[in-house]
C-alpha cells in the first residue's frame, strides 16, 4: 500500500511513529553505553528501588518498543497499530 492510498489517520500515525522510531534508532549507541556502564558500575542511589536500578529493565524498556514500532512501519495494519492481532 502506498502513502497516498492510506487513510489520513494511518498517515498521521505513521508520521509520528517514524519520528519516535527515528529518535530511538539515533539513541541506540548512547543507550548501549548507558546500559553497559549501569551494568559494570552499579550505583546504589537509595531514592530508587532495586528494580529501577536494573540495567536489564532499562534495556527492555528501551529496545522492546523498537520491535513493535518497526512492525507497524513495515506493514501498518489496524491490528499492528493498536496491538491486537489482525484478521
Amino acid at each position: 500500500m502506498t502513502w497516498r492510498e492510506m487513510s489520513p489517520v494511518t498517515r498521521a500515525f505513521l508520521g509520528l511513529a517514524v519520528a519516535i522510531c527515528g529518535v530511538r534508532l539515533l539513541l541506540i549507541k548512547q543507550y548501549c553505553l548507558i546500559i553497559a556502564v549501569a551494568a559494570a558500575v552499579p550505583l546504589h542511589d537509595h531514592f530508587f528501588p532495586a528494580l529501577l536500578r536494573q540495567p536489564a529493565l532499562l534495556a527492555a524498556a528501551f529496545f522492546a518498543p523498537l520491535w513493535t514500532e518497526l512492525q507497524v512501519l513495515l506493514r501498518p495494519t489496524a491490528g499492528r497499530m493498536n496491538g491486537t492481532p489482525s484478521p
Binding site: S7, P8, V9, T10, R11, A12, F13, G15, L16, A17, V18, A19, I20, G22, V23, L26, L27, I34, I35, V37, A38, L43, D45, F48, L52, R53, P55, L57, L58, A60, A61, F62, A64, P65, T68, E69, A78, M81, N82, G83
Partner: protein
C-alpha cells in the same frame, strides 16, 4: 511505547532524559489515533489537530516553567552549559569570534529568547491547525539547530505537528463539503 517511556522516566539511569516525557505523551496520542481515530476517522480529523496542539503547548510550557528563574533570565545556565564549553559547532564558532564579555551578553539574550519563545508556544493550542503545525515545526527545528543533541526532543514534536497537519488537511474537504450542502 507509552509504558516503556514511563519506565525509562523513572529508571535511575534514564530519568533525566526529557525525550521520554515527550514520547510518553506522543505514545498516548498514537494510542488514541489507533483506537478512536481508526474507528471514527471523521472525528479524528476534527479533534486530532487540537489534541496534537494541546500536547505541543504542554511540552513547551513544561520546558518554559523550568526556566522561569532568575538564573535563566540572566543566561547563566546557557552560558555555563553551552556557550562557554559545549563542543557543538555554533558555540565553538561563537567562542572563536567573540570575547568572553560579548559571549556572556549573547548567552543572556539567547536565554531570554528561549524563555519567551517557549512560554509563547503555549499559545499554539489556540492557533488554526496549519499555522500551529508550521509554528511548532519551526520552533522544534530552532531547538534542534541551536543545540544539536536535542534531536531526541525535537523529533517527536515535529512528528506530532506533522500528524496534526495531515489530520487537518483531511478534515478540510469534509468541512468545506458540509458548508456547501
Amino acid at each position: 511505547m507509552t509504558l516503556s517511556a514511563a519506565v525509562l522516566l523513572v529508571h535511575q539511569a534514564s530519568y533525566f532524559f526529557a525525550t521520554w516525557i515527550v514520547v510518553f505523551w506522543a505514545g498516548r496520542f498514537l494510542a488514541w489515533l489507533a483506537w478512536s481515530g481508526m474507528a471514527d476517522p471523521e472525528g479524528a480529523g476534527r479533534k486530532g489537530p487540537f489534541l496534537a496542539q494541546l500536547l505541543t503547548a504542554f511540552w513547551f510550557l513544561g520546558g518554559a516553567a523550568g526556566k522561569w528563574t532568575a538564573g535563566y533570565w540572566a543566561g547563566e545556565p546557557f552560558h555555563d552549559l553551552f556557550f562557554a564549553h559545549h563542543p557543538y559547532a555554533v558555540y565553538a564558532l561563537l567562542r572563536a569570534w567573540l570575547d568572553p564579555e560579548a559571549l556572556r551578553v549573547v548567552a543572556t539574550w539567547f536565554s531570554r529568547g528561549v524563555v519567551v519563545v517557549e512560554t509563547a508556544m503555549a499559545g499554539v493550542a489556540f492557533l488554526p491547525a496549519r499555522v500551529a503545525s508550521t509554528v511548532s515545526i519551526a520552533a522544534a527545528l530552532g531547538m534542534w539547530l541551536s543545540t544539536g543533541d536535542l534531536y531526541d526532543v525535537a523529533g517527536p514534536v515535529i512528528g506530532t505537528a506533522l500528524a496534526a497537519r495531515i489530520l487537518a488537511a483531511a478534515a478540510r474537504p469534509e468541512i468545506a463539503g458540509r458548508r456547501e450542502r
